[in-house]
């Protein structure tokens, strides 16, 4: 995969500028149809989800007060994991997008909501709503692509450092909320600046994150375990809360990887968005996202980010309506000869991880490796990892040649 602008056969080459603007008009009409019909039922939906989530969290934590008993531990941990997933995905993420601002309920509003997450809501809104949703999949602008630590495209030059990226990605998945917090702070960029030259704004943001992390960790790893002391359940409750956080992190990381990382999702050149029109922005969102197919419960647990395409087209539409407009959006893709990328959760997770592994290796390495040539391929990889840039270039040229020949033979 390479950016859409560099591909030999661009998937949007057949669209005229008029087509692209017409796509914008038709998508605006879909958006308007939801605005015109939203009302009491939608409001009742989000209030119900919040009520169910809070009841589930309360119930699970109550059960965990006796978590020394294994069945209580299992039930409580499972319930708390689901509650934390709902809180982050269907509730927090979507409220912070302003999807429910229209209700004018000060308790359910993008400017007042705070969530059970290491990163403070306001910081996340900046990096997610403003940067990621505006510059979706633009290399160099959308840091969600690999979070600045991964090789996400064949066009990025390979370096031995990237061999470890499947491991980084897994560790990032387990502690995703802290990864997000570091990412929202642009920690990497700021840490390169000498300590005394860091901006006061950055320092204030770090303090806010640390305060948030302290509060969340105190709740999960001190207060609730301490409340379980009467049954001798301090450690089991601590373990349960830790497990629920990791489960939530792994789940949300998987869902988010499926949104922009599986095969078929396009990336874009930085220069291509200069003077981008409304229609062109829509087309970039259409091709830069992928859906997950599945049951109603699965959609709910992903916070309806399984409708990633619809969410990226209309990030401020309330999530409970994405399912209803998805067939209209898909029909629009077909009408204009575009690919609506979708697949089951296992398929998309596999596809995304496969890409992580493939890109951790030099271009063409995975494709040209068979059982038979494995020893020589490993030797080549070893040489590339140990050698300097010159050795890497030469080896890469050979890999490219083999890959080309293989393509021709196929």
């Amino acid at each position: 995969m390479t950016t859409i602008q560099k591909q030999a056969q661009s998937p949007i080459a057949h669209l005229t500028p008029e087509d692209i603007e017409q796509i914008g008009v038709e998508l605006d009409a879909i958006r308007q149809s939801v605005l015109d019909s939203r009302g009491a039922d939608d409001a009742a939906y989000i209030r119900k989800v919040i009520k169910v989530q809070r009841s589930l969290e309360l119930g699970s934590r109550a059960v965990l007060l006796a978590s020394i008993f294994p069945p209580a531990w299992v039930v409580g941990t499972a319930g708390l994991s689901v509650a934390k997933i709902l809180e982050n995905m269907e509730i927090g993420h979507n409220i912070l997008h302003g999807q429910w601002d229209w209700m004018r309920d000060p308790k359910i509003h993008s400017t007042t909501w705070e969530w059970d997450m290491a990163t403070p809501a306001r910081a996340w809104q900046h990096s997610h709503n403003e940067l990621h949703h505006t510059y979706t999949n633009v290399i160099g602008k959308d840091n969600d692509l690999g979070y600045g630590i991964m090789r996400v495209d064949e066009d990025q030059r390979w370096h031995p450092f990237f061999l470890a990226q499947p491991l980084w990605n897994f560790i990032n998945a387990c502690f995703f909320e802290y990864g997000i917090a570091a990412y929202d702070l642009e920690l990497g960029r700021h840490l390169r600046v000498p300590k005394d030259k860091r901006s006061p704004q950055f320092k204030a943001e770090v303090r806010a994150v640390l305060k948030k992390i302290r509060a969340q960790a105190t709740k999960d790893y001190l207060v609730h375990p301490a409340l379980s002391i009467p049954t001798g359940s301090f450690l089991p409750t601590l373990a349960a809360n830790f497990t629920a956080n990791v489960v939530r992190n792994l789940w949300s990381h998987s869902v988010i990887m499926c949104g922009h990382f599986p095969e078929g999702v396009e990336t874009f050149e930085k220069a291509s968005i200069d003077g981008e029109t409304h229609g062109e922005w829509y087309v970039r969102q259409m091709l830069g996202s992928a859906n997950i197919s599945g049951s109603k419960a699965m959609h709910m647990m992903t916070g309806n980010l399984s409708f990633q395409i619809e969410h990226h087209l209309f990030p401020d539409l309330n999530s409970n309506r994405y399912a209803e407009i998805a067939p209209q959006v898909q029909a629009l893709f077909e009408k204009y000869g575009l690919t609506y990328t979708t697949g089951s959760l296992p398929k998309q997770v596999y596809s995304a991880w496969h890409k992580v592994v493939r890109l951790s290796l030099p271009n063409g390495w995975l494709a040209t490796t068979t059982k038979k040539n494995l020893p020589s391929q490993v030797a080549l990889l070893y040489k590339m990892s140990k050698g300097g840039p010159k050795v890497r270039r030469a080896a890469q040229a050979r890999l490219d040649q083999v890959a080309r020949r293989q393509d021709l033979a196929a």
Partner: protein, 372 residues
């Protein structure tokens, strides 16, 4: 235990509870089970809705534990979700304080009145509503014996509240209490026609018992009331203290009349005058800056152009980074032309009516005030 150590124990327990629920607060969980408990945001539950006329109903509400009570004639601000959107309106409390602790409002559905129509025709018992404590200076002072009430349409509601408190109506007729025996009250009540007149039976019963003198004027029978006619309808007008409640037109005319005659007048108006949304307008900021904008420029762009420091983000309506509270006025969504209007006291809690708007996709549709 001393008072201060009790307080500090209490605040420590509160902090402990908060540390167990963060980033939520314990109240968020308590609200699931006991939204009307002491210490909660003031709310109420609708218990009963009784039709008074085809387009008016009395709504009985059980207020939360922190309801501080009210005086007859005072009004109440109520927040209710209509089509999923929170709206705030003020309604007079119909009764004086009741033994069962319930409160009631009587609402007349006005044409295009989103909230009044919802309350009269759609609301159901069991609905949770948001309340503010009773307020309003439109109450009786005990130093006046001779009173004139001038009411029009639903403007009768605060007056009914006062009269019911003065002359409780029982199965055996209207009670005359000691505290009310010296009162001499005339009620001039105006309505479009007799069937449209809410509380007419109550007024007639009070009139029949001699508690008040009722002068009912129906537009379809007597023609529209002119304030100069009052001198004919109420001979001793000059001796009376006038309390009036009704639409702006009537109150303005009455104000001019009484001022010219040197008479005392207390008024209460419910519906604020509305401005029709237009194209463009001046945006006023909290610090006093005013910016003139046309109807095609976003408030964000226009204000920045004029040198106002504005919060901003994606500049295309998706990130909510530019949201600011509009306390008054109308804006038009540049994407689809949708109008959003802020009316003090109606579109938000408190007196401001603030509605949060996205300045990057909103253009002025008339004069607006931004709290920024």
């Amino acid at each position: 235990m001393t008072g201060s150590s009790a307080t500090s124990l209490r605040s420590r327990l509160t902090r402990l509870a908060e540390s167990a629920t963060t980033p939520l607060v314990p109240a968020d969980f308590l609200d699931l089970f006991a939204p009307l408990r002491a210490g909660a945001d003031l709310r109420g539950r609708i218990e009963q809705i009784t039709a008074e006329t085809p387009d008016a109903a009395t709504i009985v509400i059980r207020p939360g534990a922190d309801w501080a009570g009210h005086k007859p004639g005072q009004y109440l601000r109520i927040g209710i979700d209509v089509n999923g959107v929170r709206q705030w309106r003020a309604y007079s409390l119909t009764h004086g304080p009741r033994a069962d602790g319930r409160i009631s409002i009587t609402v007349k559905a006005v044409p295009d009145g989103m909230v009044s129509n919802h309350l009269v025709h759609e609301a159901v018992p069991g609905t949770l509503v948001h309340l503010e404590q009773a307020a309003g200076e439109f109450v009786l002072n005990s130093d006046h014996d001779k009173l004139l009430f001038v009411t029009a349409g639903s403007g009768i509601t605060p007056v009914i509240g006062m009269l019911r408190n003065l002359f409780p109506s029982t199965d055996t007729g209207v009670l005359k209490l000691d505290r009310s025996k010296d009162l001499d009250i005339v009620v001039v009540h105006v309505a479009p026609s007799e069937p449209d007149s809410i509380f007419l039976r109550d007024l007639q019963a009070l009139d029949a018992s001699g508690a008040i003198r009722l002068v009912a004027r129906y537009d379809d029978v007597h023609g529209v009331l002119k304030v100069d006619d009052l001198t004919d309808l109420v001979a001793d007008l000059a001796d009376r203290r006038t309390l009036a409640c009704g639409p702006a037109g009537l109150l303005d005319a009455l104000g001019a009349h009484h001022e010219a005659a040197g008479l005392e007048l207390v008024t209460e108006q419910f519906r604020t005058a509305r401005v029709e949304p237009g194209e463009g307008g001046s945006i006023s900021f909290a610090n006093g800056t005013t910016v003139e904008l046309d109807g095609a420029t976003s408030i964000l762009d226009g204000a920045e152009e004029a040198g106002v420091l504005m919060p901003s983000g994606c500049r295309m309506g998706i990130c909510m980074g530019c949201v600011l509270p509009m306390t008054q006025g109308s804006v038009r969504d540049l994407r689809n032309g949708q109008i959003t209007t802020a009316v003090p006291g109606e579109t938000g809690p408190g007196a401001t009516g603030a509605v949060k708007i996205q300045t990057c996709i909103s253009a002025a549709a008339g004069a607006c005030d931004l709290d920024h």
